[in-house]
Symmetry: D2
């Protein structure tokens, strides 16, 4: 059983008419629906306005893969919850950051960089080219994903060199962007996926849904542990302690 | 002119007789001495007990490469100073973490991981094997560096997959460790170098000195910028804004 | 259905008494047996002395993951077969190189390096430390694999920086080695796994069997294609060809 | 003294009027001229029609960094010379592949992949975005290099995941490409740089010249060795050989 939690700040989704029309159940609702098509999977949702943002210790402990959509309310996410999600990732939980999640506290804490980028909102054409077509996250896709309208992000994107780069976006207005980036932290796997602007039907696009289903499988933990911390250990070989180091 | 700042918490160096005998000017003093052999280089020191830990904005702004030795007093480093050093690294300053620096606030903030590892203090033999002999940091070394006595660190070392791995340590008691690790964050280059236990004369070893001189040159910024943050940008191509995204 | 082909040069296995005692069905037989424990899997064997070394185009086309054990007869593998296996890997087939496979024609062709290393045969203790414990290939293992006796390999191992490093070996005699290395080439995934000397019962060790079962699953193709070659393509956007480049 | 050899197949340069107009001394002549601006540097040229393609053992042994421009005559480069250049790279010589060099024998031999890509020749606008602005190769550049007209290359580009990715190209017709890629092989550093179509004045562009001067410095060997091959070694520790492995 793969246990997925879709976290959404759920602010635009309740205030902005256009967003409400496109995503009547919120973006988290739309994302949950297509992730639920995965076999043997349980998908839950969590939002900013819930107690502990819906991310109690129990919820986090029972999550294999978390998706994170945030934008306008990054600053309202409590540091304690950020630490809890961070700890879970280090201990093995997969994390998929969506779109403006690049600027969330938890993304920056896991990357060790600012996550900054250039941007504009002009609804221009985006093409996500597959640069690692044998990667599990690219399974079932053609050579690129064509999104008629999206918000634009451009380089320099301040992230560590990704462990694996799966997508590079082309934007009509002249920009490129590393749009599908894999990282590992502790026992956990992390995927950043660029598109997903709230006023556009990106999460209804079949290729986007394929990517996120693939990413959930890829990010699912191989191994989870209770704790990652320093350990005092004894030698495995007999050694002469011939120096008075104490 | 390469401007280097050697930061040391300078606690053991003033309290522990053995450390005082081995490093009469403190470890920062010993390290400064051999870094000063680099041509066209200015080396300054900074310690925890100085105002702002010796790392005022002016000092940090005038540093190309910083070395960081900390161990027993990680928790006493002010968060404001950690943020200042972090910002400088993102903007291009090189950072070289020494030994127990793996557990410092600033290392963990830049890595996005816990930096945890296994350890014991039995003064056993360490050999650092060069696994990237063409790397600038390995210039002038043989196939391994042999340290008669050192503290032991063992895997799993919780760091992101290094961009480049230069050294792997062998310890007599049965452990291995990724001892020379390169990372990039923002415009800055980071090198972690494992050995350097305070009660042992590691920084007097000629190969260790060679590594740190090489590392200082390698970590020196190619480009420094004033600021790394999100930028709103206009398209470079004329585009029809045919969607009412606003 | 996962289709695995275990290739062995099968020379020591038929001539050397000690090898015959340890592996009465050959090393390929032993390896096939424990890979067959994977669900929904078909394991076939192929050896040097078969027509086309057992690797006809049909066999290769029907292989998802190939394991490769070679040592004394690397030079007898026909270049045509090497090219066929190479092509299959580029088109998506997984490849797992065992032990002295580091010196095979096909390994060097895929790496772009010499695959050279240092070695001795003294049956000393090897410990393979897990340095990426969240990796699928490390699933089910403890913090290290302890092999009482093995041949020794040492650094510098001339390979490209691995995409992911899973194991580092410690040898009693003072060496370390990057023993579990992941690479991607074309659509294919490649894993190099160090231990497996013919005169030692390494392939009977339960942890070694776990690693190779995990590696077979990890290397299984996400996507296979018929051909990877240059393609002449038309623009996706209308462009003014305002330069007389022809 | 940095010793550079610029190799050009020099076929278009002698036959095609447009190329002769743009590059009266051949592309190798133009490239040599701006590389000669580097301090303490000696630049030589070598072409296909010279004896041993101008790459005698003596020339290769006296080269620190080689640049490689080939396109229409890849098949005419003798395998013996390919092996010689390969060996030199493994032993520490830097190699910079230009444009259609992606399809040369020596590039494919060093990559372990097909080097294939998609392409069209329509002289469209290319922008090379800097995705690693702190990298030495990007020193002195703005956020992108704007080339009014270039041949187009598109993904999927069949190369191993680059050790460092410095440039990503945007093309007006809808494509992206990993245009500045760093690799290591043996002791040698390799840089692939995409633009440089023979009928266009790309090598007269100041930013392109900056990149190639930077790349020559970056690729210069830290360490050169006479030979990289397997070595039989003795243990550094006393070990009981308690198994009859012989």
């Amino acid at each position: 059983m793969l246990k997925i939690t879709v976290w959404n700040e759920n602010v635009h989704d309740r205030k902005d008419k256009k967003v409400m029309e496109i995503y009547p159940k919120g973006m988290h609702g739309a994302i949950s629906d297509f992730l639920s098509e995965l076999p043997d999977t349980e998908v839950k949702i969590a939002t900013l306005d819930m107690p502990e943002h819906g991310l109690t210790q129990e919820v986090v402990d029972n999550t294999d893969v978390m998706l994170w959509w945030g934008h306008t309310a990054h600053g309202q996410v409590a540091d304690e919850i950020v630490q809890r999600v961070y700890d879970a990732c280090i201990r093995g939980m997969g994390l998929i950051f969506l779109h403006s999640g690049h600027d969330s506290k938890i993304f920056k804490k896991l990357m060790g960089t600012t996550g900054s980028l250039s941007w504009r909102e002009m609804g221009e054409n985006e093409r996500l080219w597959v640069v690692s077509p044998g990667h599990p996250i690219a399974k079932g896709l053609g050579e690129c994903i064509d999104l008629e309208h999206e918000e634009t992000y451009g380089e320099f994107f301040d992230i560590p060199e990704p462990d694996e780069l799966v997508f590079i976006s082309w934007f009509k207005g002249g920009d490129v962007f590393r749009s599908g980036c894999c990282f590992k932290r502790g026992y956990g796997r992390i995927f950043y996926f660029r598109p997903g602007h709230e006023t556009l039907p990106t999460y209804h696009h079949p290729d986007v849904q394929t990517v996120l289903r693939n990413a959930a499988l890829w990010a699912a933990p191989s191994t989870k542990v209770d704790n990652v911390s320093c350990r005092h250990v004894m030698p495995r070989e007999e050694i002469d302690v011939n120096c008075d180091d104490d």
